[in-house]
Symmetry: C2
Subunit: 327 residues, 2 copies
């Protein structure tokens, strides 16, 4: 099937059915949440009823668009409905919907809308475009295909998805097409500064505390082309930081002028360390991560290694030395 | 004159003359540098000769586009030419061209291209559009008006201007029109991730050291709606930081969740403190800055106050208390 035919089939699925469970993936990000809200607005425009849900809390910063108040956290709320029509958004495979799975009937008709290259087409209807920058970009195409009006709330939800999944139009998935779509959304009254401020710029006090603990651990090696940061158990305790607070910290190492590889060591417990690796150009950090039981991409990878901080640091540095030698 | 007529007059000025001094403002930023390089490429396409110059060093991170190697730092290089045709880019008034002024003949014909609302039309030919997000946006319009080819180097220079002067498409000057133009530039082979990485994400080791010194000074007041950071003389000394390293530091205070006003106190000497004020929504920080002899906008302002750190902090807090009371 062509993408155009998939869009049409998706439109029919939405038109011909009535009550939907709409879910995104566990620990939702900006695209997952934007897509969930956008689908809510699409179904509302079609006069359908629906439940918006996901497993785990949605970060507060994404909850400023109408319908946000309707998102149900399935880890906290017990739903006593079973659905035979469901929509999975931004999930590369079925298990990514998490606890929502138990709300589906045995003969559920599932619509799968996603942009991950690894998507395994787990739905009865699949709308998957792997070169889209975000699931929200696919929903934009759907809105256009169905001829639905792009009111400000819907446009803002879609813009949030585009903005966050392109890293604020900074990643290589930022295409001319994405920019034209973003422009169209701005024309519907989206405030780019408001969305960027909320989604990309807001920081928490615990994040700042964590950063304060972590920066003094910076050390450089390999002729200052590698930079290392460490989050110890004590730093996590002192800052009361959470998972979200740690996101992006590794970039403080990677982004230093002249640095090729930035690495963050995060102590999980006294004998386990999570390692996040980022590179700029020529070092394939996924090879290092894979050799240590992890995975990822050439420029962003990760692994979890047994050992104390010193031991794991040495193990990773040895691998890094090989990687530099192998170039 | 209309903008269209100004574009035509600018085109004629470039076509009818031959050798130009092209300058931007002292301490050039991304838009100033992008505009300087873009004008170089425009003149090259027209078969003209030119000198690209500015007062003070251009930050290394902006110097990756062809013609960058031709930019002359007038603080270091003595030019023995006098020009009777000159182009000032991104300068709100004539003094902003700095030392370049002494290179102009008495009867110089000066073309002034700029987007600052305060521009006083100091040129013989003026191309000023105050609602443009960047001077580079005006140069984009000029390229289209003149029907010049948008090759990758020219497009990258223009994109650098749009990107940096909109804060990475995050400020309120990010319009649908800007996004459409950015899309067109991407179509000419600009790498959005490469430009963003170089211009927005690269940090220096001295910046990280300064951040490390500054974060522990964070303190909150006014029911945690105001956040304060301090750069002492000792912190500057310890980090060997420069002016650029301080840019944006105040946002670590302002961007904290729930904070309305973020303030950075920067010790200039033992009895002088520079104060940078940022707000999110309802506090007009320009009123505070003005009352203390400074200026700026409602959400971003600054002033320099006599006194030691404690005294100045108290003076500013008193003003802030009034501002909160006056709402």
């Amino acid at each position: 099937m062509t993408y155009k035919k998939d869009l049409e089939a998706t439109g029919r699925f939405l038109m011909e059915n009535d009550h939907f469970l709409v879910v995104n993936h566990v620990n939702p990000d900006g695209d997952a949440t934007g897509s969930l809200l956008a689908m809510g607005h699409i179904l509302q425009a079609l006069g359908k009823t629906f439940i918006l849900a996901n497993e785990g809390p949605t970060p507060e910063k994404f909850l400023f668009i109408p319908l946000s108040e309707k998102i149900i956290n399935l880890s906290e709320v017990e739903l006593d409905q079973i659905f035979d029509r469901a929509i999975a958004l931004d999930c590369g495979d079925f298990p990514r919907i998490g606890e929502a799975a138990r709300l589906l009937s045995e003969d559920v008709q599932l619509l799968n809308i996603d942009h991950h290259p690894t998507n395994d087409l787990f739905g009865q209807v699949n709308l998957v475009r792997t070169d889209a920058c975000a699931t929200a970009e696919i929903l934009y195409d759907l809105v256009k295909e169905m001829g639905l009006p792009l009111h400000t709330s819907l446009a803002t939800a879609l813009y949030m998805g585009l903005l966050t999944d392109t890293g604020g139009f900074r990643y290589s998935n930022t295409t001319a097409e994405v920019m034209h779509k973003a422009a169209d959304l701005l024309n519907q009254g989206v405030s780019p500064s408001d969305v960027a401020e909320r989604c990309l710029e807001t920081i928490t006090a615990s994040y700042l505390k964590l950063l304060r603990e972590v920066l003094p651990t910076l050390n450089m090696d390999f002729n200052d082309e590698a930079a290392f940061l460490t989050i110890s158990l004590e730093a996590m305790e002192a800052s009361q930081a959470n998972r979200e607070d740690m996101e992006g910290l590794v970039n403080y190492a990677r982004n230093i002028e002249g640095v090729e590889v930035g690495i963050l060591f995060k102590q999980v417990d006294v004998e386990t360390v999570k390692v996040s690796l980022r590179s700029k150009k020529h070092i394939d950090v996924s090879a290092i991560a894979k050799a240590l039981g992890g995975g990822g991409h050439a420029k962003a990878a990760g692994c979890t290694v047994k050992g104390n901080l010193d031991e794991v640091t040495q193990i990773v540095k040895n691998r890094l030395e090989q990687a530099w030698g192998n170039q």
